[in-house]
Symmetry: C2
Subunit: 481 residues, 2 copies
């Protein structure tokens, strides 16, 4: 194991985090608020430690191996969260370390669960920092899913990369590949467009920027305690729906769409199912809301549409408290906690592609039973899927369900209400944000005991890094040489 190179990479990343803090510092300076010192100190710590590491380690010019890759990816999120919670603590906004770490990990993993109970009371710099850590987390996920996970061989991620000129599949190049750069430009473009539209819709420039950051990352942090429900404007809500939808779509498809290749986009099977699931769930919940509430057609439709897109993309914004819906609608929405965005998007969860592959495989299995001597591979985008990928996706699903079950059991010790425990675990593992029961969309995570917050933070990390990246570090085979 080449620990030097691991430390060197982390040093570089601390410098990046330091630069991000400087942006928040700028915001604080503009508004001339009391959190300025917190940012100066935090940026100083990040930049000096990062700088020191980079200066004292030699550039070995060696490629990073796979094992080092797994460690680096996991450590990036952990180290970012440790150093990223400094502004919260030093400004006094979240004085407690556990709470600050939870909030920061929830940010970097683009989960969006919060321990804050009076968000509007925070200074602008801190609100901006909360938003930018989600945006950075989203950027990280784009690199991860396009350049790193396919090399790791995780869960069918190889499938959608074929369309785009990808990285060489043997060593992780320390330079971010050209692909990732292109997609970052799209990510940035979406963010700017959304900002302008939200500003036109009536948000302040500050709120528009913050929400564009957290929309595109499918993060879900808001500058308001009431989340998007604060703005009753249908225009704002529809704009956010559209951009959550984009954020939950494979970014390579957005790239193809911008190149005018719409045919390729609409032929993509994952995109089709993603659309179908959204339409299906929205219609059922829309009808359910019409029947069970006093809402008019448009607001009922908007509530259904917004909540469905927010949950399936794992953003976690709220314009309605789905716990107040009739139980069937609540559980219907809760089932979406186990869907997740598209592969190659910033969304978390199991992912549409995996669900489609799994359902197809179960269906194909019946045909295999009828024709035991025929070879019947699962088809995806008209290509046969290698059985190794199916096994891998299925291993992922089994792990996901097992971790969900086990964690719910463990969490019941902390949170005796089973529904709340299920909700907290599912929302953390799927990087969504709100849960069920006492961690619902109108509540927050402040009241959870410290052990519970650390536990949920770990689940966020696990879910964000597609389980295997983290779990492999705990397997004896990983450390054996």
């Amino acid at each position: 194991m080449n620990f030097k190179i691991i430390i060197r990479v982390l040093g570089f990343l601390l410098i990046i985090e330091g630069i991000a803090i400087l942006l928040a510092l700028l915001v604080s300076a503009i508004y001339n608020e009391h959190d300025l010192n917190a940012f100066i100190i935090s940026a100083g710590i990040n930049l000096s430690i990062g700088g020191l590491i980079v200066l004292t380690t030699k550039n070995t010019n060696k490629n990073i191996g796979k094992r080092e890759g797994f460690i680096i990816v996991t450590l990036v999120w952990v180290v970012f969260s440790f150093f990223g919670c400094l502004p919260f603590i030093l400004s006094g906004s979240i004085p407690n370390f556990t709470n600050a770490f939870f909030e920061t990990m929830s940010g970097f993993t683009t989960t969006g669960s919060s321990i804050l109970s009076d968000i509007e009371a925070l200074p602008h710099g801190i609100l901006f920092w909360r938003s930018i850590i989600q945006w950075l987390g989203g950027m990280g996920i784009i690199v991860l899913s396009l350049a790193i996970l396919p090399v790791f061989g995780i869960g069918g991620m190889q499938l959608f990369v074929a369309e785009v000129p990808g990285p060489t599949p043997d060593k992780i190049s320390p330079r971010i590949s050209q692909t990732a750069k292109t997609l970052w430009v799209i990510y940035l473009g979406f963010t700017i467009t959304e900002t302008i539209l939200l500003w036109i819709g009536g948000m302040t420039v500050f709120d528009a920027i913050c929400h564009s950051f957290t929309t595109m990352a499918t993060g879900g942090f808001s500058t308001k305690q009431a989340s998007i429900a604060y703005w009753s404007s249908p225009f704002i809500q529809y704009v956010i729906i559209v951009f959550m939808f984009f954020a939950g779509t494979n970014f390579t498809l957005s790239y193809l769409a911008l190149k005018g290749r719409f045919k390729s986009v609409f032929k993509d099977e994952e995109f089709k199912y993603y659309g179908l699931f959204i339409i299906g769930f929205t219609l059922i919940i829309f009808i359910g809301l019409l029947v069970s509430t006093q809402l008019n057609a448009e607001p009922a439709f908007r509530d259904a549409f917004f909540q469905v897109v927010s949950i399936i993309t794992t953003t976690g914004y709220a314009t309605a408290d789905y716990l107040k819906w009739s139980p069937i609608l609540t559980i219907l929405l809760f089932s979406l906690f186990f869907f997740g965005g598209s592969a190659g998007s910033t969304g978390g969860g199991i992912k549409i592609m995996r669900i489609v592959l799994l359902l197809k495989n179960s269906y194909y299995e019946m045909r295999r039973m009828l024709h035991p001597n025929a070879v019947i591979p699962v088809k995806f985008n008209k290509h046969s899927v290698d059985s190794k990928i199916i096994t891998n996706v299925l291993a992922f699903f089994m792990l996901y369900i097992t971790i969900f079950g086990l964690s719910t059991i463990i969490f019941t010790i902390i949170e005796p209400d089973v529904e709340s425990a299920m909700g907290a675990v599912a929302t953390s593992l799927g990087n969504i944000g709100p849960g069920l029961g006492n961690v619902g969309p109108a509540e927050n995570f402040l009241h959870i005991r410290p052990f519970g917050k650390w536990f949920l933070s770990f689940l966020m990390l696990l879910g964000r890094l597609e389980l295997f990246t983290v779990l492999i570090l705990f397997s004896p085979a990983f450390w054996k040489r």
Copy 2:
């Protein structure tokens, strides 16, 4: 499709059911109770319809094909339940057809969920009929899992058959294979032994017979409203624990044990994990009960042990109301709803072997990621498992979880309490018996709306026949020729 042969086989089975009704008739005659006429009419209907079919159809001497096999197996359980509910209706014990069908399907699938709220008020013949349908259901499952499912190619069932001289894997022989006969003798032997032991422990001969029937089938119907809690005798409870354990063990292992080949038994991987899961869960719940209740050590241990074995084997007897335990212990026990007995036992659920294969595959997947060019098959009982079997088991698991999720959503329309809905669905699909919330061990299923009862009956059938046997009938590929 050869429908004539399907009808002929069902005719034979109706005759078998008619003979079974004669046994209950005998019990009714001995006790000289009012349900005698109901049994005479029921037996008459079964025997005459069955006889008519057999006499009017020709013995074609043709082997039964695979497609016919799938239809026959599914129809056996449906037809048995339709004709088997006659005694309940005609005796006036369960006058409502929906309720009577639910109770009978719950019997034949060895589930054990009941709509009865005053079991002790029933005449002996009816109580005996309830028990014998479970026992017959158990017999059916032994043939199914040993002689039929391996031919169908369902979910890893091929794996454990290797040990015993099995049927030829191409056509289903209409004669029950020698293997099944041998195992039936063991099944009968266990039933007789348990009857004697329960009688020694203080049960009446009648109760002892009825409970031995429903123990060995992992059915769970009792002759008492309070289930096994009616008998406070530790001896009786421990005897039932031991025989539930046997019933949840692969019957081929019991065969090997009787032949003195204990080494083979203890080397069996599924058996090892089955034992480990029981010991692990029992110890944790035992400690939990000691901490959270006033119980002494032995009763606490017995409560934990009994409930764990009852749920993991999918029997469903109760000596304690686990809903009154602290939430963590309840949910821990509920997680066992998704385990199930061993393959080749009378237990339902996902089955230990499948769970072990799935967990192993997920773990092996990490090794595959580290060594992408190596072929790393899952090992079971020291043999490499064919990747086709793994895919099949995984397809089963995905379907099981999807059906559980979807059904819970649908059931929430009927039963707005999500916990109760989850419990009802999980217990039906796993053929267990009691559920959660208002279908807990101290409750019954009477209050569920008719649609709900039909829905749960379907889930029992689905679970009992390993999902695929039933679902394949709904696939277009099945009917295409």
